[in-house]
Symmetry: D2
Subunit: 301 residues, 4 copies
């Protein structure tokens, strides 16, 4: 992560300016506010603002006049019930705003979550910084042999070196030319909105990204999942830690019912019931395709 002294000073100033409010406050989130949590080689995630806490979920579910909290144990039980029964609207009553610095190819996956509000820096208007994502050696993974959209072990030796050199050299040259196209010393220069097309997909961009808690959980479920690409998963993991500090009861329910749970098809339910009765069931006998059976065995052995 690279912050200029000015940026660091702005963040420090924001953390120093305390105010009084009548709104609900999440102590875990106040401790996180504004600080840049490093992700990848130059990226970060920062919380810019938030609305609500665990009790706001309870309060909305009850359409309360007051804070609506009785005992923490009651709140935990109600929140677990809401999560288990897919009552999503009370979770929509909390909101969070992040400032994220991330490579463009990660941003292109991320933006597919359409239920968020986004302000991205405009490369039509501004000049992007000279910062590219170059994978650490242990993340320079080979194509998976079994999964067309997965990755295997890290490349090694000459091949790893060659790939790293290409990534670095091509990005550097592309950025040099991007800068040169923009014009120097009295030259008019190519329009910014055109020059940016020379930049590779590993250049960093930045945005403000705002989302309600229900949709944040949906994002985390898909992107903090082991099948998500490593480069977006590390962002999701950083955000998951922040969320656990923000709304600890809701996050615990999310972990139990979403992240740690399992989904069974009608065929899967039947197979498990037969197994519970002591039957041995084979793929041929399960009604499942080979692919589905493999995934089923991955969970149930």
């Amino acid at each position: 992560m690279t912050l200029t002294p000015d940026q660091t000073a702005e963040i420090d100033a924001a953390r120093a300016a305390e105010s009084r409010t009548l709104r609900p406050v999440s102590p875990g989130m106040e401790a996180r506010l504004y600080t840049a949590h490093p992700v990848l080689d130059h990226g970060f995630v920062r919380v810019i603002d938030y609305m609500g806490d665990d009790s706001a979920i309870v309060q909305a579910a009850r359409v309360s006049y007051g804070r609506g909290t009785k005992k923490v144990s009651d709140d935990a039980g109600l929140i677990a019930y809401l999560m288990r029964h897919w009552h999503s609207t009370p979770f929509e009553m909390c909101e969070v705003k992040f400032h994220v610095k991330l490579p463009i190819f990660v941003a292109r996956q991320w933006i597919r979550h359409r239920t968020a509000n986004v302000n991205e820096i405009s490369a039509r208007y501004s000049i992007l910084d000279r910062e590219f994502y170059i994978p650490a050696p242990e993340n320079l993974a080979a194509q998976s042999a079994s999964n067309r959209q997965g990755r295997g072990e890290a490349l090694e030796g000459d091949e790893a070196q060659r790939v790293l050199d290409w990534l670095r050299d091509d990005a550097t040259r592309a950025y040099d030319h991007y800068e040169a196209m923009l014009g120097q010393e009295g030259q008019q220069g190519l329009a910014r909105e055109l020059a940016r097309m020379n930049l590779p997909a590993n250049v960093y961009t930045q945005w403000y990204w705002k989302c309600d808690l229900h949709n944040l959980f949906h994002f985390l479920r898909l992107r903090a999942d082991p099948h998500a690409q490593f480069e977006i998963r590390v962002y999701a993991e950083a955000m998951a830690e922040i969320t656990a500090d923000w709304v600890p009861l809701a996050y615990a329910a999310f972990e139990d019912y979403r992240m740690g749970g399992a989904q069974l098809s009608a065929k899967g339910v039947k197979v498990l019931k037969r197994r519970l009765r002591g039957e041995v069931v084979s793929q041929e006998d399960s009604g499942m395709s080979k692919g589905e059976w493999r995934e089923f065995e991955g969970v149930w052995g």
Copy 2:
């Protein structure tokens, strides 16, 4: 507006509990928080929570590291520019949550705004209160003679009295039977989810309604408009006043470019340009339909 002593006490307690926060604070909104602003005979609007202020709009537009504010005059200029050019995403970075008590027929119009988050009290689960909207005499309007979906002058005399009696008597009888259906003294009673169907559309419901500032402005433009039905317009007007206190710069831009502005068709632009050159233009000569011409003259004479 009818609040029980318990509800009043809960609101007072919420207004008494001040905390410290690092988040941006809107003084105008802090003064509004939790208080129930009366609307119609039994309804209200209360702010439950908010996120962001005028400077949050500027900050998002600039994807800033710090608060992003320089001078108020700069902020006002940027906010006006964003509003004029329909750059809606920075306004989406502010969020507000209301608690509203409103008649069901108003709720049915309101819910058509799909970009909000809503938690409504469930009449499957709870028993609704004995409260109906009965129009004040001056709002007991006759059908408009010219506009199939508008209203004219207030009814008077016997007709007014007869209508008011029907509204009151039918609502009272419907509620009496609703209560009776729910069962008493050892009777099992009809399921709540069925009994509610006997209640008329002027019975009050309640919800938490959360929305970003861009979509709130869209709601206000349609519902605080003179063509909106009076019974929803009064809610929109109460919310508009609150919004003016919350984000004064954004609200001023909204008033200038949306509420107070005018929209011209290509034909309208041509007619105005001819008029500016001194021509007298008639409807026949304008290319407009009679209806459009009438609306055009309503603004431009």
Copy 3:
């Protein structure tokens, strides 16, 4: 279901007017088009238009130049894979438009699904028909003793009769007064937008409702579920049958992975694994709350 001779004639005319098209056609849906499928005592569901079929899902997943279909068995496998892995976007590529006649209290639940497009008849502009939902005797259910938002057995004898009389009489009287308020013989009459507030929540309304297949499946999963209120479930069931005719492969995958499947929490996975190893697990020992345990036993015994 009540259709006027004019309405029947319009539907017949629409079914008689065949055209030629280059678009994909679903034979199962063509057989359904326009016909009113009766639901409840006066309601119906009709398909007005549709876009796409099973092969459109495959085609979108592959971003194909042509129809993209190879063998039906390949398509079925890919569609099952997409459903299993929550790849929702290909299912969004099919669209359907229904015309629905339904009681207002059902419409109020239904409209909470925000991802659809809706045009409802306006009671500000039009006069609603004299049609109310009155439950059949076997659906006049008592409040559930165990579930605050559920229903139990049907009411019987005097209580049933009394409830039915109230529902019928109150609706009739409310409609009589609604009509009378609207004015007769030279009277101006109350504005329609006001008079409608006298009508009860079991009066029928109508709308056009358009939705993509992914969101339709989401609607069906929640509303064709045994926990949904009977009066909306019958609509969902009628739509589910239509959907099965429209996209048979996608519907089969939906039944397998959504309707017939089961969801397990992290705790539920652990309990099942212990049981599969032959352990006997009690609620106290499961980490689950009593409510969750009851639901878990409901599926797994």
Copy 4:
């Protein structure tokens, strides 16, 4: 535009397969179906499917039982009325699905329109084609001197040549290395999801993009506007022509009330009224900022 013989054959096959349908048919759109309309040097727009026509808008506005059309002139009048009064829901009742080939930097702007359904080819799964956007000489525009996000005249001479050489050379080298990283002859190769990060933002991607007519008009208003970047505007213009063939009445209303119209602020209305009374108004006297005044004069002289 570059289509392989296989792709051309698939398109021809799709255009040759006519079916019978009971659905409404738009003759103008049938003539367009499947054909690739070239945009930029390698891109295209193709209609893959559509739902509805002008009469579907009328039918939805009336919640009709039949086609709802009376006379074309009535339909035109109603459609114009709906457009003028921002009654957007009837326009949402038409739907269209495009297949688009476009540079990534254009896709990044386009995807910000969140109300569409999108399936993009996955560069985690597939290998992208060796095709980049290189501007034609007349579109190799310099940075605007007056507008930080605009462009001026085309670059000329040596500077133009140097820029074109950089764009071509850097893209070619990046693609060569992308291919080489993916591994050859027995090498495992870098994971596709990583290798793609070496590709520049002018490489072409493809997607299926589906949208309702209301949101398509919104897209066209912003992207077919003279202030939109040329490289996305040419796509919007191609889609606008297709839309004019699909729903001619709705498109005519869109041109009149949106594309060709003008928006006035409250200040703008006041200034025009003073001018109509013969007053001469200056910027200082208008209440407008310099920027707003310049834009105002751009329309009104």
